[in-house]
Amino acid sequence: MTDVVRRAWRWLARTDVAALLLALAIVLMAAGSLFPQWTGAAVADKTRWEALIRDRYGGLAGLLTTLDAFRFFQSPLFVGLLVVLALATLLCALNRWPALWRGAWRRPERPPDALLDSAPHIACFTAPPSADLPDRVRRCLRDRGFRVISESSGNGVYLRGDRNSLARMASLVDHLAVLLLFVSAVTSAALGWRTELTLAPGQAALVGHGSPLSVRNDGFTILRYPDGSPANYEAQLGVADPTRTISGRVAVNRPLALPGVHVYLLGYQPTAAGDAVTLLAVHDPGYGLVIAGGLLLLLGLSVAVGFPHCSVHARIAADGALRLAGFADRGAIGFGHEFAGLAAELHKASVSSP
């Protein structure tokens, strides 16, 4: 059993499996986008909705309903795929964490010689033996923004320069951000609620779901541009809780923030007594997590794109033989150019030094 779990863990943490799951999500979402989606409003609306579906899809309506085509994004198939995708994201992050952490924080000064010989960028030359060659290499690397560490041994001196070494952690930050987005969606679905209220002029109603707040329609205004077209719609509300009553305004793109609830203006209907307004009271504890997850994702992506990790290793033998090896993330466009410039500068300085 443990072996099965271990194999499943490894399989789910693989990048090609993540790609497969993403491809599956794309196909399912494209399929789901072909059908109108039931958003879960009042029962009366549902009766109207079912009539619309029967009218539009005829004999296929029953089959499509059974297949969850009209609630596709809440269907077990789609939600199941999202759960597997979230699990794969978590396992991938857990699997890569130790190696990336070590790579970012605990780097060996002296790499294996085989690594120096197989680097994508290599330069070697022999300089006249000089005690200040390591310092010269160190200075050249520091001038280019590398953080340098060194180690001396019987074979010579080893230097290692790293630039943007923490950028490797960005991928982990992105995975954690995606997990946070999954958590926020679950939080919104499990703990959030929405109530639509249509209030005649002067009418008040509780926002519901156990909240003590009630809102009253105290007036409705249409703000207009000079040409007479609507610039915004605004409702004046009286908001009461058991202790006090306050007044507030709600307009398009400007919800009214109340403790634990936001009130939105959805529409208005002119009546003989004045304008009735349709409001939406929303309690969504997942929204803050969405923002946090989104910002974290942006941070990780920006670091990964803007600050690719590069490293240069130098081995200086006692006879003055200098071997430089460069490594860089695939995003480090132009690193080869920079590495060649570094090697040329060191070579020139070594040859011209007394």
């Binding site: 790609a19 789901g32 986008s33 539009r56 610039a231 398009v252 989104g294 942006l298 466009i333 132009g334």
Partner: protein, 277 residues
């Protein structure tokens, strides 16, 4: 004369010069199309600013304006790469082929803008729902993200056409097309992310929900997932190179569908969408 039209004509000129460079490579043909494309970008920029000043709001509020910004972004990112990657960018025939492909895609988008009906090109006061700072960030970041997808597809097209043959003019020190394609996708991806995030914030302020599986939202997410797939596959053995280039080209088709094809889908299968464009 209309600055947007001047920009459009200059784009055609830059494309023609690039095509000449594909068939008769010459050193001067590396530079001239970039100068003409810079003039086209400048004309588009001034034209968009003038439209924004005359409308009293950012020119990002309908399909016509978005298409103009989209073409402007493709051109801007192409020119930015020319500056940033000086010394490591493609040269000669490959540079002309890549430039021609990128400018052709920019023209495809610009043509879409210029063939919009007159009522879409007219300037109207902003609808109440569009009066939000989040709209501006959302649409501008989408234009930049889509622009990067266009540039990546333009770099990928010659790569796909070349197949497994090595580039004829590959020189030491020049970054491979594969790496430049990957880099462009990776650069555009945070913009796509920012666009979805700010769209979610705007939706929360306007409609009280940050996600509603509206067809436009679904396709924005499909586009995002497509490029996330590309970013994952670049580290999978056997997927780098031509396969990835094909995916990047198809990705731009997905982008175009999410932008220009979706209204057709909504009409055809009779969906409803809260999104005007």
């Amino acid at each position: 004369m209309n600055l947007l039209l001047i920009g459009y004509l200059l784009l055609w000129t830059a494309l023609a010069v690039n095509f000449a460079g594909v068939f008769r490579p010459a050193r001067w043909l590396d530079l001239v199309p970039v100068i003409v494309a810079t003039a086209a970008w400048a004309a588009l920029t001034v034209g968009l600013v003038a439209r924004g000043l005359s409308a009293g709001h950012w020119p990002l509020t309908n399909r016509y304006e978005f298409a103009l910004c989209f073409a402007w972004a493709i051109l801007g990112i192409y020119l930015l790469q020319k500056v940033r990657w000086r010394g490591v960018n493609a040269v000669g025939q490959l540079a002309s082929a890549e430039g021609a492909a990128i400018l052709a895609l920019a023209l495809l988008v610009a043509n879409y803008a210029l063939t919009r009906p007159a009522d879409e090109r007219a300037i109207y006061p902003l609808l109440p729902a569009l009066r939000s700072v989040w709209l501006q960030i959302h649409v501008l970041s989408a234009a930049i993200g889509y622009g990067a997808c266009g540039v990546a597809a333009g770099l990928a097209l010659p790569r796909v056409l070349r197949g497994s043959k090595p580039a004829a003019d590959a020189e030491p020190g020049i970054e491979s097309a594969d790496r430049r394609i990957e880099r462009t996708v990776a650069w555009g991806f945070p913009w796509l992310t920012l666009s979805i995030l700010t769209g979610a914030v705007w939706a929360q302020e306007a409609w009280g929900r940050y996600w509603g599986w509206d067809p436009k939202e679904s396709w924005a997410l499909i586009t995002w997932l497509w490029y996330l797939l590309v970013l994952h596959l670049r580290s999978v053995r056997g997927w780098r190179g031509i396969r990835l280039a094909v995916l990047v080209v198809v990705g731009f088709v997905v982008v175009l569908f999410a932008f220009a094809g979706l209204p057709w889908l909504i009409r055809t299968v009779r969906l409803t969408s809260l999104h005007g464009f």
